[in-house]
Amino acid sequence: MASSAHTRPLSDVEIRVKALESLLLEKGLIDQAAVDALIDTYEHKVGPRNGARVVARAWVDPAYKQRLLTDGTTAIAELGYSGIQGEDMVVVENTPEVHNVLVCTLCSCYPWPTLGLPPVWYKSAPYRSRVVSDPRGVLREFGTELAPETEVRVWDSTSEVRFMVLPERPAGTEGMSEEALAALVTRDAMIGVTKLKA
């Protein structure tokens, strides 16, 4: 039997995308190889592993951490991460006293160079609507219970500044290598909806 992928009718959105792309290619406005290269880069090379390396470095190198919290853009670029949707980076530190969590209520702004492209839930109406008005309730749904005395700061990305959370280093990780520490760091902890465990 022929592959069903070839016989399935195209959906409306697939037709729209093919129509637009083919017109733009034909007019010489876009280049196929450029489109392919960008897809490959953001699907396979840019992602939360970048941010995890930044976090691990900050945990093991106090001077780096200081630079990261003072000038996020430059400190992140030291590790080779930069570019669109990360031109102006601010890194906020989670501590036992203060818990930071990120959102973009107006669209879906997200720090691409360090976290990659955002997950669907981050872009969704339920998260964007509720995390500003009921942050503790939303965090609880992610399994994150905060002490009542902990201060919560919800960062709403309304401008072109992009944020990233520096999560708390889990207890019991003393003596671990930077690489092993990076492997503990998750995307959700760098958005601020979860805490990390060793």
Binding site: P9, L10, S11, V13, E14, I15, R16, V17, K18, A19, L20, E21, S22, L23, L24, K27, L29, I30, D31, A34, V35, D36, L38, I39, Y42, E43, G47, I84, V103, T105, L106, C107, S108, G116, L117, P119, V120, W121, K123, S124, A125, P126, Y127, R128, S129, R130, V132, S133, V138, E141, F142, D156, E160
Partner: protein, 103 residues
Amino acid sequence: MNGVHDLGGMDGMGPIVVEENEPVFHAEWERRVFGMFLPIFACGYFNIDELRHAIEKMGAPAYLNTSYYEHWLHAYETLLVEKGAITAQELAARRAEIAQGAA
């Protein structure tokens, strides 16, 4: 504008649904829409604020019922026609050709 995109503090949007091990893209058309972003931008027809506004103007039902990359696609189509890079007629004609060819 006081559009539905301005979601902060609204109730009744439903539960937050988290997909475990979510892939970066869910379909090939999402890849193409993402990949066209920078090349289209580089043509200089519009800026990021115009792109966001084109999405905001798509209408509340469409905004809530379509995905992120459909929002982008809507913005590309609208702005590229508005700015004269392509015409609505040639876009419609090309869609019809593709639909027939794929039928």
